[in-house]
């Protein structure tokens, strides 16, 4: 693959990384969020503060952690605090600008399911569960969600409400006294979505290069709408791609991943 080419996954990670400002205090989920947040740190946002729920504050890993508490997070952090402190003092205390989450299922109001597919007591698929997400989404200043887009993940109705987005839409979230703004961006391998003013329904605001509207609609389980002012996502720069690929290559070597 030449530097000019890029995969849809690379576009997703790069687009998500660009959302984080330099100096932003970000509570990072494991997997895609951690990949994007670290790419931001390695490119345009060297001062971004990454907080992981296991306890590291200001982690600066040179490889991607496989788990939420890898040694590299503790060793590279400004400080490591007990887990209850992360949730009580730092998150509930109001110090987090952005919560960066992944999801198994999301609906049109950016409500997230990471608990079960099917019924709760006899599920078709038992997913890992809530982890830190409900309170992160509740108490972080705003939330970014990064996930692959498809009919099984972008669903008309989620099977379990693990983490509140905009609930039934409109001001439902504010009415419950939830302080955090909620999911302001959803970044996928096809496009970027944002809640529409008023209804709070997710609409497409930016389409990744080479992706058609039909393809995005086909990968969505509801009648997805597009914002009036649509843009095309700027394609990854050579700097972004180089940083991402180098990071992932170092990670694969370090984890001995032969899958």
């Amino acid at each position: 693959m030449s530097e000019a080419d890029f995969t849809t996954d690379e576009m997703m990670t790069v687009a998500a990384a660009r959302m984080l400002g330099n100096g932003t205090v970000c509570f990072v989920g494991i997997g895609l969020p951690s990949q994007a947040a670290n790419l931001a740190r390695l490119t345009h946002a060297p001062e971004v503060v990454l907080i992981y729920e296991s306890g590291p504050i200001g982690a600066k890993p040179d490889i991607l952690p496989l788990s939420i508490g890898d040694g590299i997070l503790a060793e590279s952090a400004d400080t490591v605090v007990p887990t209850h402190e992360i949730f009580r003092y730092w998150l509930q205390g109001g110090h987090i600008d952005v919560g960066f989450l992944g999801a198994a299922q999301i609906d049109r109001f950016a409500n997230i399911n990471t608990t079960v597919i099917g019924s709760y007591h006899r599920p078709k698929v038992r997913l890992p569960g809530a982890g830190g997400a409900p309170e992160i989404a509740d108490q972080a200043g705003e939330v970014f969600v990064i996930m692959h887009q498809g009919r099984r993940s972008f669903v008309d109705k989620i099977d379990f409400l693990t983490t509140a987005g905009y609930l039934d839409g409109g001001d439902a979230r504010e009415k419950l006294g939830i302080k955090g703004k909620g999911p302001t961006r959803v970044i996928t391998d096809l496009c970027i979505l944002a809640p529409e003013a008023g209804s709070r329904e997710l609409v497409v605001t930016s389409i990744h290069p080479g992706v058609s509207r039909e393809k995005i609609r086909a990968a969505t389980g509801w009648d997805l709408r597009f914002a009036n002012e649509m843009i095309e996502t700027a394609q990854p720069t050579q700097t972004e791609l180089g940083a991402l690929r180098g990071f992932l290559a170092r990670t694969a070597r370090a984890h001995g991943d032969n899958r």
């Binding site: 494991i30 997997g31 729920e53 296991s54 306890g55 590291p56 952690p65 496989l66 788990s67 939420i68 508490g69 890898d70 040694g71 997070l73 503790a74 060793e75 490591v80 007990p82 887990t83 209850h84 992360i86 949730f87 009580r88 998150l91 509930q92 608990t115 709760y120 006899r122 599920p123 078709k124 698929v125 038992r126 890992p128 569960g129 809530a130 982890g131 830190g132 997400a133 409900p134 309170e135 509740d138 108490q139 379990f160 409400l161 693990t162 983490t163 509140a164 609930l167 979230r173 419950l176 939830i178 984890h255 001995g256 991943d257 032969n258 899958r259």
Partner: protein
Amino acid sequence: MADICSLRDAVAAHVHDGDTVTLEGFTHLIPHGAGHELIRQRLRDLTLIRMTPDLIFDQLIGMGCAAKVVFAWGGNPGVGSLHRLRDAVENHWPQPLEIEEHSHAGMACAFVAGASNLPFAVLRGYKANDLAKYNDRIRTVTCPFTGEELAAVPAIRPDVGIIHAQRADRQGNVLIHGIVGVQKEAVLSAERSIVTVEEIVEELDPPANSCVLPHWVVDAVAVVPGGAHPSYALGYYERDNPFYIAWDAIAKDREVFTRWIERHVLGTRDFSEFRASIDGAGTGGAGP
């Protein structure tokens, strides 16, 4: 006063069928060696508590040791599902498994409440989601000063708290450093406690602000070198990521899983024999 003894004796003395047991360690210092000893001693009907059930809970559940699991996130970090947990929930194999599900914030606060000798924890949490619909231990309480409605969860008060730490001294004072999770709370909230350590040293020499559990709050200290494997012990060894990856295929199939446990856990006398049995097997460090 901590009794310095073998892990086998510690588990035999302090863990009984039907007990509520927490094995804590947030990715770091997960007490795998102690978990294996629970399997070897064929403990049954345990209520197992852990914020982040991972491979050791998969093994305990798959071997039918658990009647109930209290948790917030159950998965193989960075790899995928816990197949034994899923099989128990989805298909009731090898037996039905009751689950009590929380968020991390709720469980962390519940551990603090347990260690603080309070009946419940209060937090801003569980707002507008379905967790409370399926868990009647998630309730609300009204602030007597402001009238704000807050979430309440009962304190975690296990019969036994089990953790792994870097080292202890000859009196049984325990030093933990790095990611400390809720390990201190797991010990202080429990009626009885077992701490496995990498080594016993003459001088603990704790750096300022490191987490030290004094010997008089710990019941048993057992030396289990590598006892957190395949998780890691900061300053001793790194996380065995290939093991986590290899576990996926072992746990996926009931027979492969059962054979693996019979050969490597039930077929070995202790954790060092277990480590020797999986060494050099050429399957990502998890043995054949």
